[in-house]
Subunit: 326 residues, 5 copies
Amino acid sequence: MIVDNALYHRGKRVPLGDGDDQSLGSARVPCDPGDFQWIGIHDPSPEELELIAGTFDLHPLAVEDAGDSHQRPKVDRYGDTLFVVLKTLWYVDEQDAVETGEINMFVGHDFVVTVRHGQGIDLSGARRDLEQRAQVLEHGPMGVLYAICDRVVDEYEKVGAALEVDVDEVEESVFSPARTDDSSRIYVLKREIAEVRRAVLPLREPMRKFAMGVHPDISAENATYFRDVADHLQRVSEVIDNLDGLLSTAFDAHLARISVQQNEDMRKISAGAAIVVVPTLIAGVYGMNFDTMPELHWTYGYPYALALMAGVGYALYLFFKRSGWL
Amino acid sequence: MIVDNALYHRGKRVPLGDGDDQSLGSARVPCDPGDFQWIGIHDPSPEELELIAGTFDLHPLAVEDAGDSHQRPKVDRYGDTLFVVLKTLWYVDEQDAVETGEINMFVGHDFVVTVRHGQGIDLSGARRDLEQRAQVLEHGPMGVLYAICDRVVDEYEKVGAALEVDVDEVEESVFSPARTDDSSRIYVLKREIAEVRRAVLPLREPMRKFAMGVHPDISAENATYFRDVADHLQRVSEVIDNLDGLLSTAFDAHLARISVQQNEDMRKISAGAAIVVVPTLIAGVYGMNFDTMPELHWTYGYPYALALMAGVGYALYLFFKRSGWL
Amino acid sequence: MIVDNALYHRGKRVPLGDGDDQSLGSARVPCDPGDFQWIGIHDPSPEELELIAGTFDLHPLAVEDAGDSHQRPKVDRYGDTLFVVLKTLWYVDEQDAVETGEINMFVGHDFVVTVRHGQGIDLSGARRDLEQRAQVLEHGPMGVLYAICDRVVDEYEKVGAALEVDVDEVEESVFSPARTDDSSRIYVLKREIAEVRRAVLPLREPMRKFAMGVHPDISAENATYFRDVADHLQRVSEVIDNLDGLLSTAFDAHLARISVQQNEDMRKISAGAAIVVVPTLIAGVYGMNFDTMPELHWTYGYPYALALMAGVGYALYLFFKRSGWL
Amino acid sequence: MIVDNALYHRGKRVPLGDGDDQSLGSARVPCDPGDFQWIGIHDPSPEELELIAGTFDLHPLAVEDAGDSHQRPKVDRYGDTLFVVLKTLWYVDEQDAVETGEINMFVGHDFVVTVRHGQGIDLSGARRDLEQRAQVLEHGPMGVLYAICDRVVDEYEKVGAALEVDVDEVEESVFSPARTDDSSRIYVLKREIAEVRRAVLPLREPMRKFAMGVHPDISAENATYFRDVADHLQRVSEVIDNLDGLLSTAFDAHLARISVQQNEDMRKISAGAAIVVVPTLIAGVYGMNFDTMPELHWTYGYPYALALMAGVGYALYLFFKRSGWL
Amino acid sequence: MIVDNALYHRGKRVPLGDGDDQSLGSARVPCDPGDFQWIGIHDPSPEELELIAGTFDLHPLAVEDAGDSHQRPKVDRYGDTLFVVLKTLWYVDEQDAVETGEINMFVGHDFVVTVRHGQGIDLSGARRDLEQRAQVLEHGPMGVLYAICDRVVDEYEKVGAALEVDVDEVEESVFSPARTDDSSRIYVLKREIAEVRRAVLPLREPMRKFAMGVHPDISAENATYFRDVADHLQRVSEVIDNLDGLLSTAFDAHLARISVQQNEDMRKISAGAAIVVVPTLIAGVYGMNFDTMPELHWTYGYPYALALMAGVGYALYLFFKRSGWL
């Protein structure tokens, strides 16, 4: 579905006739030098992609990738056109889960085609924001690329921050005196961190290249902007690596905790057993059938025996209490 | 066994006389510039290899490797001829196992020799498909190399996807409340992942080189195709690394689970023991032989004692139930 | 808040009119060649930053970063101006915790702007010290940069030393015979080490570059000074890595300790149980109702039975004592 | 001890006068261009080494290394002479152990000196084989170097294969239901793998250099041969790394197994205890001394009680059997 | 304290006037080309360092480092002077501990200043030995540097060998049937290995550079000598890495051992308990008060019951013995 289609002239949007999708998509708007056209598509049908590929002369391998929503993030160059795959990430609070989407972009001299798969970042909003920032739009298609990368990476940082909160929770739970089974929580978090890492890591290298200005399409001024993106990517990936390390340590601590708790349980159980077993021995003694057992004939023999049992039990209780077993 | 032998002229198959294997194999078909011959062999005898090595002037070390089915994947250059070893992988559903085969290729200016060992990818089918795609065949021997690499790597992705399903199953099993012994399952999966890694990793470097066009036999257009292959290889290896990491974490969680379950068992056992041992103490008390034990003479002393035992047992049961030990 | 503002002429401070902040900040002091102005700000408001950015023509992306106190350490070049982000670390003895602050610096030809966020290093003190060392100040803005990096990295070394003490304590606790739950302590230390690592690691690369003199702003003599800084950074990061490794080993030892202690507890409990259970068996025997049980009719049967129980109990006690179970 | 000494002329052995060792060793045979002399020594005395060093003008540091049998594998160049240290490995079936020896080689323009320490590869056999392969001998001293490297690395592959069998055995033992203590076996295997790795790893880099033909003594044709060696080294090191990883995983599985078995033991013990303890309670009940206990006066009270105990015991047995505790 | 001070002329020691320290230290002896002066200092006071720094025009930063005995090993170049920091290691048998000292060296065109901190290598002995080896001394200051590096690294190898013995002992202890608590021993060894690694690792890179002759002060012949040092360093670091890996594996095996022992203890305890509890049940049975219990009236009822108990106990003992629980 073609979502939007506009011409940008000196950083300003030039309205295009609001025809039906097909006509919009297939018609390449003639451009003055420096102008560019930006088409936004969402979950395109193969035919729509075909049409646009024809209009902008896109490479078939890139178009094939663009139709598939399970690409890995990358920046490829086909002739004069850059093909960029970005993973979008966002954090769904209700489920404490990281969701992923995908944006594919074709960036040429005088056009940008953005293809969004699934949910995720709101590209229309990004476009509206960008249309307010003429100084970025003036950089042409690479400005659009920067703006979208920037927005996507900002989302990564939010996801990173949300995961930091989750890790803090896990940490608290691991070290709380309560008996918690944190291993599945830690597992899920590690899985999500791996997800984020797979979105972030492959982008670092191309963004660093953009930032160093080694890419022919990147001017010095543009490079500065991409350095900002590369820097945020780096920060996200450090946060993520740090969280991963903390989770591993927290998991080890969790294991230690289980062992310690088992030990405590064992002592508690043993102490409890002792409190029952020693009086049982006393009862056994007074159950013996010797002819001469003076206590048996005492008037208060029975209460004495009960008291002895209770007393021994209580003494044991105090003893174990004091030595920390109960 | 020589499986097929054909001449390709401008991307079209030119039928060759359907003689017996020997004559086919030994005869090098004269080629116009741009034409090439493609011979496919399966589990060749040393004599067949010898014959073909003579015809196409192949290097003895490469021929020796081609006769052996336990090579590691690699791309070597002997004079003008590329020698490529690929591991083929496929997933056998019935056994949840990854099987491996091997394809060796000699790629020269005007010929391709493919040597298949064991089962695995269907090269005849690959040839038939390729004969439908003249635009790839027109690239000559390197086009054939691309097409086969592409097919082999596609299989890797299927294997990766199948392993992802297996890992999901293991994960579910680890975190299910049922007591499962997942360690051998995890071990087998890790072993298979190592197998896939050994097929995938050594190919990444040469494919990346092909993709960057640094190889003298690779034209810019061809390089684009190989970039696609390199990209899929990269994706497979990321999937595999991710699965490996998840399995390690799952294994740790499995260990934690065992400890937790042991702890739960211990508490359950202790609670059960308490329910029996405390009534035993009561029985012991009323088995004592004191002269004066009023309860012994009560009319309902015995039922009272039994009720006391049952009551204490039930109270303990409730207590342990409430504190989560039972 | 603008903290200080001065002109330095041949390594000497030239007093500037002590007007209000705004006027100070916005006025760029005309400089002779070789002179430079150094403005120090603390927790600046956006307006103050805006003002200074205008005065010294700072890049908006750098200014945006400077206003945010959660940057990662880095050295970026915007046109002729270096933008440096340093994390300050200090160790708070009362809480055994590492605290972090941030210093941002803009280093131009003839000016330095230092922006401090939060607590941490005392920049005014650094300035006063530096004003005593004309030979460093003579190097101009890069001399200031060196002096501040040096001071920041010195603090890292102090933090490293404090963490070494903490790790020694943990070590002692792990290997002491007392039952200690060191896992949370180890976790916290690992977390702090990760904090230090995040401050130290990203700086190593740019400092090494400064030290090798590859940076255009760095003279050979300056490079020697930065090599000193790079060297200290390297030392800190080695100390930190070493501590991290020791903590991991200590944690493993802690786990082993827990297992060993559980084992010891189990044996102690079992020995205790045996001492009670065997006399109970004896009591059971003399509680049997056989017609002919000679002991029952002995005059000293009862004392004999009690002595037998005590004797057996004591023998068991000695036995377990000797075999190390008690 | 000088083992053999011969001149090779156009790939053919030229018999030298069969004098005593000393005269053979000290006399440098005059060579036509392209001819070379090959002296083989075994466990040389310092004097023999001295003599040969003088004859062929070997560097004192290399000679010192050659006299010592605990060098690490390496390829060093002293002037025009290559000094090569190879570790030989072989697998001793009776002890399931990897043994190591050492070969030092001096490779000059027109001579090869091979120094063997300890047991290991049979250099005389290698020489006899090589004398059959004139096409390798024709490459001169580098041909000899190739032939020996090839043979040494072939032995590595056999060791790798033997270790694979060992790891398979360990694996089977770990996952067998029998209670095996595999940790020492795994430890020994890991130790042997480390041994192999120390022989293999340092050779990879120089062999790769030989294979890439960057070494001045290596012709293009020779490089092809060394590529074969480098390739086998790579394969061995991948096999070894894989085995190491599998052993680590197997060890973890072994640990999990121990825990699971302990858990099973605990349940079995508890079930057994319950079967004894509950009848004991019953016996306790009928040992109580209440005046009115009807069962005591039943004619078949006693058999009834015994039957009750047996029945309860059997019921418990069935219950635990069914719930998998026994 | 200035220990020695001499001039070396063509590899021979030229006696200098044996005045007091101060005069010796401050006087720079006039040198012929190729001659050099070597001053050895031990635990210098700041004033001594100051004096010497003035005499030989040493860089203040290097002098500051030389006065501090906690530098990391490094090779720095200040103008024409090399500043080298070496850690000396030696093994103290009585305490099974690795001790560290430090040597700082200033190596100029025509002088060497060696500064020793703490105990460690005997530099005077090194000097005496070196004075016997004119061919090394003739290389001038770099020859002295080589000779000292060589001696220091030789000590590393001895330490490595001593640690190998320690690891063998730990290994034996871990796998001995005795119950040993090896974790603290392993921890201490790992700590010492880390110490050695910190001495060895930072030196590898500069020594390799010296060995490759890329350093301007190093002649080709000298480079050969440094290659020897670099080679020994490499060997030490491989030994150390190997020991570290073995210790980790040994620790894991130790953990497994603890678990296995706990399991064995548990079974032993359970078997012991069974042997007591079953006779207790029998005693309970014959303690019941049924009117009709024939055994009670047998003449030999009591001995029969005792025999039954003993028999059942013995049968259980045999059963557990045979099934390996006792």
